[in-house]
């Protein structure tokens, strides 16, 4: 990580030569748009603010919108006049779309020592944390959870799952990509097979997961680390995730620097620091995702044996068509 920090500084100095003189670090303020759970009291926001302000001689301000998509839409609406230096909380399935807005500047950092599902080469967005989408179930009620999409389709008709709407929610979109990555052109058949088991398609992860916790569904689309939350924070070991043989689709949350930001160097310093074990130590037990570096706390499940990946260009080009295809199969 030392290397990437040095590199960040080098790039920062380089930038200083080519762009108008940037204000010095001292007393600078960095404004970060993110989703509200990230900035909340019990989210990673306060810990990261505390950690970075100790070393940066600056102030860090999180501005919370209702979702990460909301944060992106806000900078799109604000354009060059935005106060934001960084947008944090987008994920890799939105990277292509965010890049296409032309609002983001290259971060100039390298990340070659991180523990991520795949090597990080994105020039515009830096990794924040990651997780794997999974169906979560209650072990006391479902002793034998399905082991694949196929097994879920063949489960008795009264076995119900809650999913999220791919149009309004990132896990909902994640499931869509998961099925696409696993089944390709056969995805509509999988959706049609899942249809009788889908209790409802919630607007947001919180609505859907709430339904599951209430006992209205046998499983909910969430993350492999959701049972970890219940085990660690609530001392309740009764939740597990269904180990699907098709493999798992990751969600990597990202951050990007806005071209319009006058604080490019400071923003790069923050994003470089964010990937260090120091900063990452804050993440697991506040955001309940895997850290991109450093140690994974006890109780977090090991990485899945098989991880599915989709090409960013394919996602960006086909997302709308894939959503229409899934919705048509469900209707």
């Amino acid at each position: 990580m030392v290397r990437s920090t040095l590199l960040a500084l080098a790039v920062a100095l380089g930038m200083g030569l080519t762009s108008p003189p940037a204000p010095a670090f001292a007393a600078d303020a960095l404004t970060i748009y993110t989703y509200d759970a990230f900035a909340a009291d019990y989210g990673p926001g306060p810990g990261l603010k505390f950690g970075f302000e100790k070393i940066c001689d600056c102030t860090l301000q999180f501005v919370a919108t209702d979702s990460s998509i909301g944060a992106l839409r806000r900078v799109q609406l604000e354009g060059a006049s935005t106060k934001a230096d960084i947008v944090l909380g987008l994920d890799t399935s939105l990277s292509g779309e965010a890049r296409a807005t032309g609002l983001f500047a290259p971060h100039g950092l390298t990340f070659d020592t991180l523990s991520l599902p795949s090597a990080w080469t994105d020039p515009d967005f830096t990794p924040v944390d990651f997780g794997y989408f999974a169906f979560v179930y209650d072990k006391t009620k479902t002793p034998n959870p399905p082991t694949s999409f196929d097994a879920l389709i063949k489960a008795p008709a009264n076995f119900k799952v809650v999913i999220e709407d791919p149009r309004s929610d990132t896990p909902g979109l994640g499931l869509l990509l998961w099925i696409k990555a696993a089944y390709g052109d056969k995805a509509p058949e999988i959706w049609a097979g899942l249809k009788p088991h889908i209790l409802t398609m919630a607007r947001s992860w919180s609505d859907g997961y709430g339904l599951f916790l209430k006992g209205d569904a046998d499983m909910a689309l969430s993350y492999t680390t959701s049972p970890t939350y219940h085990a660690i924070a609530e001392k309740n070991p009764n939740y597990g995730f269904a180990d699907f043989s098709e493999g798992f689709y990751p969600q990597i949350e990202t951050a990007g620097i806005l071209k319009s930001s006058p604080n490019q160097a400071l923003a790069q310093k923050f994003l470089g620091w964010l990937a260090t074990p120091d900063a990452q130590a804050v993440i697991p037990e506040t955001n309940w995702m895997y850290p991109v570096s450093g140690t994974v706390p006890d109780g977090f499940p090991p990485a899945p044996a098989k991880v599915l990946i989709l090409d960013e260009a394919a996602i960006t080009a086909n997302k709308s068509a894939w959503i229409d295809e899934a919705l048509a199969a469900l209707r």
């Binding site: 748009y33 509200d36 759970a37 900035a39 909340a40 009291d41 019990y42 989210g43 999180f62 501005v63 919370a64 919108t65 209702d66 979702s67 998509i69 909301g70 839409r73 806000r74 799109q76 609406l77 604000e78 006049s81 119900k160 709407d165 791919p166 149009r167 309004s168 249809k195 889908i198 209790l199 409802t200 398609m201 919630a202 607007r203 947001s204 992860w205 919180s206 609505d207 997961y209 709430g210 339904l211 916790l213 209430k214 006992g215 209205d216 569904a217 959701s226 939350y229 219940h230 924070a233 309940w288 709308s320 959503i323 229409d324 919705l327 469900l330 209707r331």
Partner: protein, 525 residues
């Protein structure tokens, strides 16, 4: 409108002008919001997103028509039962019913599941709560109970004289309903039906939670998706215009139907009991209503008890409570002011067209999709050069006041109309000015309704926060925002407790405010 009616209405040009100014201001605000979005849309690339508009309109309309028809039938039955029956705790039950409509949709949906869901109190009955049936059932909880509350006020206002005459004629329960009750209810039904239709037509969280998938949707959901996922602002505006056009037909129809005369006297204890069979039916209606409406809300309260200790020690909770209270009070007062001006202007105007012009904008706000409002408000605030964070509280107060305006109008417009018709001659004969007309004639008669309007608007803003989704305001948190944030961080027990506390506040406001104002009105009379 019969020509003779014009002669009895006191001339109040100032009232008409005041109402017109507010109505035009609301219309201008809505147009400005749309203009802001269109201006932003002009800079966008045309997108490829598309929706099956025909199916959307079909399913949205079907759901809204079902919700409206059932709500009105259930509301009338329940108002009829509550009007005839007296029992301990009646006021509390009325407060509970009235509070349903202002409870956040998510809270009601979860309450419904606590009772009828698979792990609910009656889960063993295996009643399907997802799909079209579940959506309509949830709307029925909101809107049926709300309809009952509004219609009950009309029935309770039937003068003793009419009742005595009816009793001396020994009318049977059916004839009594047809001859005495129905005329009192009829004037309120169009406005009420319009509101319920609009609420069901634009419903969003309930449809997504209980709809069971893409087969049951609303146009509102498609608009949300166009804005949030596709960021296709022109498609969003087109869909929003379709929604508004359909809603406008409903609004204009209901505005054009002139409310008929409503009586204003308050009845005392009912001395006229219906026949035994009818009374059995009344108790049955009440019991079913309690089972259907009250149990989900009681479940919300019961679910909330567990987390009470955790929530009450959070500083964030008390800060949000304080914010919610002042936002609620400010928007309730604003909504009341707007409703008083528009309702009195409508009552003072005699042409059908001017009544539509005065009334429609108040309802139009309901037809505008929440996500479009949020987006438009954000763009407008920025265009005005304000910081979104600074403007957020004002935007929320105005948005919430406008959101509850249709309900305030539905409550206040009929009594104002009735006063103009029944007391018009008296007011003209005495030569009272507008201020004295209000103070000496109108205020004592509408004081209780004013309390109801304040309670409604207060609770509406307690429950709603949609408009500041983009504003970026972690320091400006209200109770519903705290609830959503808790849910988003796995803290479901906290969320359940916040929901229960909001419900308690709502019921308290509904029981206390109308009583308080009735007393104030009597003291002034």
């Amino acid at each position: 409108m019969p020509r003779s009616a014009n002669l009895t209405i006191p001339r109040r040009p100032l009232r008409v002008i005041g109402g017109a100014v507010i109505a035009l201001a609301i219309a201008a605000l809505i147009i400005t919001l749309f203009w802001s979005i269109l201006r932003a849309a002009a800079t966008q690339q045309p997108s490829t997103s598309h929706v099956d508009l025909g199916y959307l309109i079909y399913i949205t309309t079907l759901q809204a028509v079902l919700s409206t028809a059932l709500s009105l039938v259930v509301g009338m039955a329940l108002a009829w039962a509550l009007n005839r029956l007296r029992f301990p705790g009646r006021d509390l039950i009325i407060g509970l019913f009235a509070s349903a409509i202002v409870t956040p949709g998510l809270v009601v949906a979860f309450g419904l599941l606590s009772v009828w869901g698979r792990s609910g109190w009656f889960g063993f009955l295996d009643i399907p709560v997802f799909g079209l049936g579940g959506v309509v059932a949830a709307h029925l909880i909101f809107d049926g109970a709300f309809a009952a509350r509004i219609l009950l006020a009309r029935l309770d206002g039937i003068p003793d004289g009419r009742l005595k005459t009816g009793q001396s004629l020994a009318l049977d329960p059916w004839t009594r309903f047809a001859v005495i009750d129905w005329p009192a209810l009829r004037s309120t039904l169009p406005g009420l039906a319009a509101i319920i239709f609009l609420l069901a037509f634009t419903s969003f969280p309930i449809v997504l939670l209980l709809g069971g998938g893409p087969a049951v949707q609303t146009i509102e959901v498609a608009i949300y998706s166009a804005v949030r996922l596709d960021f296709d602002l022109s498609a969003a505006v087109q869909l929003a215009l379709v929604q508004i056009a359909i809603c406008a037909v409903i609004i204009v129809l209901s505005s054009a139907l002139a409310p008929l005369s409503t009586s204003l006297d308050r009845s005392g204890e009912p001395r006229w009991r219906d026949a035994a069979m009818a009374r059995w039916l009344q108790w049955l209606v009440l019991a079913l209503a309690l089972l259907g409406f009250a149990t989900p809300l009681l479940a919300v309260l019961a679910d909330g008890i567990a987390g009470l200790g955790d929530v009450l020690v959070q500083r964030a909770f008390w800060a949000s409570l304080a914010t919610s209270l002042w936002i609620g009070i400010a928007s309730a007062l604003l909504a009341l002011l707007l409703a008083l001006v528009i309702a009195s202007a409508r009552a003072a105007s005699s042409s059908r067209l001017s009544r539509i012009v005065l009334g429609a904008p108040a309802y139009a706000y309901l037809a505008v999709p929440a996500v479009a409002l949020s987006l438009g408000a954000f763009l407008l605030v920025r265009a005005l050069g304000l910081l979104p964070e600074t403007a957020a509280p004002f935007v929320v107060v105005v948005a919430n006041a406008l959101l509850s305006l249709p309900f305030a109008m539905a409550t206040l417009a009929p009594p104002f109309e009735a006063i103009a018709r029944s007391r018009g001659r008296l007011i003209r004969a005495l030569g009272l000015g507008g201020v004295r007309q209000f103070r000496e004639i109108e205020w004592p008669l509408i004081a209780r309704d004013v309390g109801l309007v304040l309670a409604l608007s207060f609770c509406f803003s307690l429950g709603d926060l949609g408009v500041i989704a983009l504003f970026g305001t972690q320091d400006f948190a209200t109770l519903p925002l705290l609830l959503v944030r808790s849910l988003g961080a796995y803290r479901t027990h906290d969320a359940a407790t916040i929901a229960a506390l909001m419900l308690v506040l709502t019921i308290a406001a509904f029981v206390a405010l109308p009583k308080l104002f009735e007393r104030l009105g009597r003291a002034d009379a």
